[in-house]
Amino acid sequence: MTSEPQFTTDLEPLPTHAFGHRSLTWWGIVAFFLIEGTAFAVAIAAYFYLMNQDQAWPPPPFLPPDLLAGTLFTVLMLLSEVPNTIAKKAAEHEDLKPVRRMLIAASLIGLALMILRAFEFASLNVLWYQNAYGSVVWLLLVLHTAHIATDWVDTLVLTALMHTKHVSGRKFVDCAENAVYWRFVWLTWLPIYALIYWLPRLAG
């Protein structure tokens, strides 16, 4: 080394964790959103591409999916944002009791959603191998299910973790980021819900 270092900035006063875009975890989650969002966009593009081939949509004699399970799912998903936001804010205030309560609530809601999702698969009125319409509808639903399942497991793990002695500032950051992931899960659901349940009815 040619010159001696000049010590100009003391880093010790800096915190060891921070929320939102100040945390690396946030950047990881956002990158994940971009990746999965692109995958969804590709699947949606495939949906429109196949729809615009020369045929009715769904191709006869298939009917569009039944509305009940999917609509119940959507309503519950949107409602789940309430405990989700409460959990996020509590985490940002590092307030353990509400975080624990909301995580348990989220775990239970996740269970209910997974059950509704099973009913959705059963009421699609087409199977994945019957034609490309069926294939792409199942693709969209399976992709989304993978995400909600992953976030649900993530939530279960965090619920357990926040009931142990490992609670720390960084774990509150993880809880806040999990809440952000949940938003991705229902935000991506909305266009898919529209495509699976409504577009075939409107396109006719």
Partner: protein
């Protein structure tokens, strides 16, 4: 390794009171890998991971090169029967697949993983365990492919596997399933690296290193990482759809059930075109760094080059239909893609102008890396110009799927990516290994490679125009193609030998090369402020920068106050790079390997039964939970284990 925790505020930290040799000892103890094979397996050190990526990628380069030699042997004469059609079709598929998925992208990832933290003045990447995981996934995917090939169930429908040929009806057995799942492995690996590098570049730069002061190579990796994020999901989804067509009867690509085989082409090439720029842009980054060191001046046109990199990255997503000009899509659409495909030559041209201007106005030292840069310019421009021809629909209608295209892409991939890569490996070898590569062997190797490359690939332009299609295991006598094919084949053998010579140079230099100082080239970047090779912790004190050529200034301002007995780095703000948070960095761990093994079992088994997805998922989930679950309770400041 972790000392007993004292009360907070009594951590040992670096600073004016704790510097020099005692600091080096403590930091080394904290940051180095454990001993032996176990230590190597558990490593999360970006330098170790970068090196293993590099070595593995070069092994695949060699394997892909052997396949090329076999192809050229079969094609050296008309109507030869050295290799039959089935084997040949596997060989050309494996050659393309190996080079594109297992060499070209991973080798750029290797260089980036190794160099980016050093260039940014930090001690490790963000998400180092994710990087470790990505390596094992890459290795698993490559192994899957090659084991299948050795067992004679290697894919045989080309590296881009068009449907319906690659679909369930016309490709029987598991060959294409192996290919499609290998794509999943390598895409997961590349995406993981892209996430890690993006977070590193945006959040872990040295204080004072604003975006406008980043090295150009780092810019190229940032652009490339974002391109990976937006392009690879397309091929991953497409190959997943192909797997499901083949394994569970979906009809995505089956035009008899409302599907479409052209859907595959769109989804593949939406990834495939950005892919080639993902390979080229880091090479352009190498060139900017090399040229600056060997001319003694900052690369001319920093802003223009950065804008050119960004423009290329964006434009690359609007070109993919130029791979489909013969499929009968609407003419008006084609016209747009011609214009866009021509336009992408402009940012490339801007960079070429700047690099040559740097040489002109600098004081060039013609050491081996600069020779590779010159060879790159001479070669890549030819490839770019044949690309301009291919961009024109009428011309493409004649030369698409002929040896003209084969010539074009080898000119841009070898000339445009491999030449800069070999220069870059030579240039940074002292940093990787602490020794210099042999200048003499390097020169001989360069000239051998350069001349034999042109001998091999230039004639292909001509045979393509003379009517020789690509992907043919033999050709008839009397077409006038024999002479040029023979020249290409001879050139190929010499070219392979020249690459082998490069590898020999690396191996010999590792043992006997001249020992290197910290900064043998007098280059300006932060990576040259570390030892050769760097200590496990990279920088004893985090450097602060004031411009984009820090080592060409007299001062060495540093930040201090990080913990010494636990792994700690800083996170800075994304644009201005103010120090923001003290971030613990993960300790070595075997969980990335275990998670990768579980994922490998899941992916490979799902080629044989869809139930593997259900049965294989819990072990993967368990491994991931174990990865993140805290191993010990730490009072006070955080430690990640």
């Amino acid at each position: 390794m972790t000392a007993k925790k004292k009360k907070p505020r009594e951590y040992l930290r670096d600073g004016p009171d704790f510097t020099g040799a005692p600091l080096h000892e403590k930091l080394s103890e904290t940051w180095r890998d454990g001993p032996g094979l176990i230590g190597w397996i558990k490593s999360v050190d970006h330098k170790s991971i970068g090196k293993r990526y590099l070595v593995t990628a070069m092994v695949f380069l060699a394997l892909g090169g052997v396949l090329a030699a076999l192809m050229r042997l079969q094609l050296s004469g008309a109507e030869q029967e050295i290799i039959g059609p089935d084997r040949y079709n596997q060989i050309f598929t494996m050659h393309g697949t190996t080079m594109m998925f297992l060499f070209a992208v991973p080798v750029m990832d290797a260089m980036a993983i190794y160099l980016v933290p050093l260039m940014l003045g930090t001690r490790n990447t963000a998400f180092p365990r994710l990087n470790a995981f990505s390596y094992w996934m890459y290795l698993a995917g490559g192994s899957l492919l090659w084991v299948a090939f050795v067992l004679n169930i290697g894919p045989d429908a080309g590296w881009f596997s068009y449907t319906p040929l690659s679909g369930p009806e016309y490709s029987l057995g598991k060959r294409i399933d192996v290919w499609a799942q290998m794509v999943t492995f390598t895409e997961v690996a590349a995406l993981a690296v892209a996430v890690s590098l993006t977070a590193t570049i945006l959040k872990k730069r040295a204080p004072g290193m604003t975006l406008a002061r980043m090295p150009i190579f780092v810019w190229s990796i940032l652009v490339v990482s974002l391109m990976v994020i937006f392009s690879m999901p397309s091929v991953a989804t497409a190959s997943g759809m192909l797997l499901s067509d083949r394994l569970v009867g979906t009809q995505f690509y089956n035009s008899y059930e409302y599907g479409d085989s052209l859907l595959w082409q769109h989804l593949f090439w939406f990834f495939g075109h950005p892919e080639v720029y993902i390979i080229f842009l880091p090479a352009a980054g190498f060139v900017s760094e090399i040229v600056q060191a060997y001319t003694g001046r900052r690369t001319f046109g920093y802003t223009a080059i950065v804008l050119a990199l960004c423009a290329t990255g964006l434009l690359a997503f609007g070109l993919w239909v130029h791979h489909m000009f013969t499929t009968g899509l609407p003419r008006l659409g084609y016209a747009f893609y011609t214009a866009a495909s021509m336009a992408v030559a402009i940012p490339a041209g801007i960079q070429i102008f700047c690099w040559i201007a740097t040489i002109w106005t600098g004081r060039p030292r013609f050491m081996v890396p600069l020779l590779w840069v010159i060879g790159f310019i001479v070669t890549f421009v030819i490839g770019g110009l044949s690309g301009v021809m291919l961009a024109s629909v009428p011309l493409d209608l004649q030369v698409h799927d002929t040896y003209f295209v084969v010539a074009h892409f080898h000119y841009v991939l070898i000339g445009g990516a491999v030449f800069p890569l070999l220069g870059a490996i030579t240039y940074w070898f002292p940093k990787f290994a602490g020794r210099l590569m042999s200048e003499r062997l390097g020169r001989i190797g360069f000239w051998l490679s350069f001349l034999s490359f042109h001998a091999t690939f230039f004639p292909m332009h001509i045979v393509g125009l003379q009517g020789m299609p690509r992907r043919v295991y033999t050709y008839p006598a009397g077409m006038g193609w024999e002479t040029f094919n023979l020249i290409s084949s001879i050139g190929a053998v010499v070219f392979a030998a020249s690459v082998a010579l490069f590898a020999v140079n690396m191996l010999l230099s590792l043992r006997k090369g001249e020992r290197a100082a910290d900064n043998p080239w007098g280059a300006p970047g932060l990576e040259w402020a570390t030892a050769s090779p760097p200590a496990p912790y990279n920088f004893a004190h985090i450097p602060i920068v004031a411009d984009n050529s820090p080592l060409w200034n007299e001062e060495r301002p540093v930040a201090y106050g990080l913990r010494v007995e636990d792994r700690e780095m800083i996170v800075t703000t994304a644009v201005e790079a103010w120090p923001d948070v003290r971030e613990p960095s993960p300790e070595p761990t075997a969980w990335p390997l275990i998670a990768a093994l579980a994922t490998t079992v899941l992916f490979v088994a799902s080629i044989f039964t869809p139930w593997a997805l259900v049965i294989g998922a819990p072990p993967v989930a368990a491994a991931l939970v174990a990865w993140f679950w805290p191993k010990r309770h730490h009072e006070g400041e955080p430690v990640i284990e």
